[in-house]
């Protein structure tokens, strides 16, 4: 069983932040209306579910990057009892939430789930997700046309004579 140590994921985070910055620069070249239309689309975001990194997935899904916010509260375990079933939930005090997405940085496909929140639906979601290994879990909340995120590392190891 390979274990990701903190040094490794820290490095990876740095690299990913770099990628995010590039994406942000790239965004300037895109026609604004296009990304707007895409975010409002009700279709299944096929492309976003093909992206390997969370930065690419967020870019594909929303066409922009998210900023960390302490108004996004994620509830996830320190150590997942099993990577196959990790309960993760999110709530936020942000107004005008239109969607909430869950991503796992180290999964083969980063985007796990994306929920559309119509007006009148509360910005709180709980679900159970798979994690291939120890990783950052990222929650992105789209509110008032902006993206806010929260990140938490969840440790995953499997096997042994447990239970």
């Amino acid at each position: 069983m390979t274990r990701t140590d903190n040094g490794f994921s820290a490095t990876r985070r740095l690299v990913l932040q770099g990628a995010g910055a590039v994406a942000l620069v790239g965004l300037g070249n895109l026609p604004f209306g296009l990304t707007q239309a895409f975010a409002a689309n009700d279709k299944y975001p096929e492309e976003a579910f093909k992206q390997k990194t969370e930065a690419d997935a967020i870019k594909s899904l929303y066409g922009r990057t998210a900023e960390a916010s302490d108004k996004v509260k994620m509830d996830a375990p320190e150590i997942a009892e099993n990577g196959a079933v990790v309960p993760v939930s999110v709530s936020t005090t942000l107004a005008d939430v239109t969607s909430i997405s869950f991503l796992v940085a180290e999964n083969p496909v980063a985007l796990v789930a994306s929920y559309k929140i119509p007006a009148g639906t509360m910005p709180n979601v709980a679900n159970r997700i798979k994690m291939a290994k120890t990783s950052n879990v990222i929650v992105v909340v789209e509110a008032g046309g902006k993206l806010y995120s929260a990140t938490k590392e969840v440790k995953v190891t499997v096997g042994g004579c447990g239970g």
């Binding site: 009700d42 299944y44 975001p45 579910f49 196959a84 079933v85 990790v86 939930s89 796992v104 999964n107 083969p108 496909v109 985007l111 796990v112 789930a113 994306s114 929920y115 559309k116 929140i117 119509p118 009148g120 639906t121 509360m122 709180n124 979601v125 709980a126 679900n127 159970r128 997700i129 798979k130 291939a132």
Partner: protein
């Protein structure tokens, strides 16, 4: 055959809390079977909850959602006895639909 969808929707007067559990393998396409061969992807892509003919919650899922997926959310309104329509479609085009009474 029994429905693949289990829903619990409870109204507190102002809001309705909805929990759903769905029977589905949610194969990501990255896991190997006992013979070492990749199990092809088979997962629910979209799960929709409708109340009064309008969607109150839409889930877009990938293969990273757990087997027999679970989701919980809440929306404003919803009366006891009213119906909530729940339906899903997976990447192979299979679907299931059910209606649940709000308790």
């Amino acid at each position: 055959m029994a429905s693949t969808i289990r829903v619990r929707a409870t109204s507190s007067g102002e809001t309705t809390e909805v929990q759903a559990l769905i029977q589905h393998p949610m194969d990501s396409g990255f896991i190997k079977d006992s013979k070492g061969e990749l199990i092809p992807p088979h997962f629910i892509q979209q799960l929709t909850f409708e109340y009064n003919g309008k969607p109150v919650f839409v889930a877009d899922w990938g293969g990273g959602v757990s087997k027999d997926p679970y989701v919980k959310f809440a929306f404003k309104g919803g009366k006891k006895g009213d119906e909530l329509k729940v339906s899903w479609v997976d990447n192979k085009g299979a679907t299931d639909t059910t209606t649940a009474k709000i308790q």
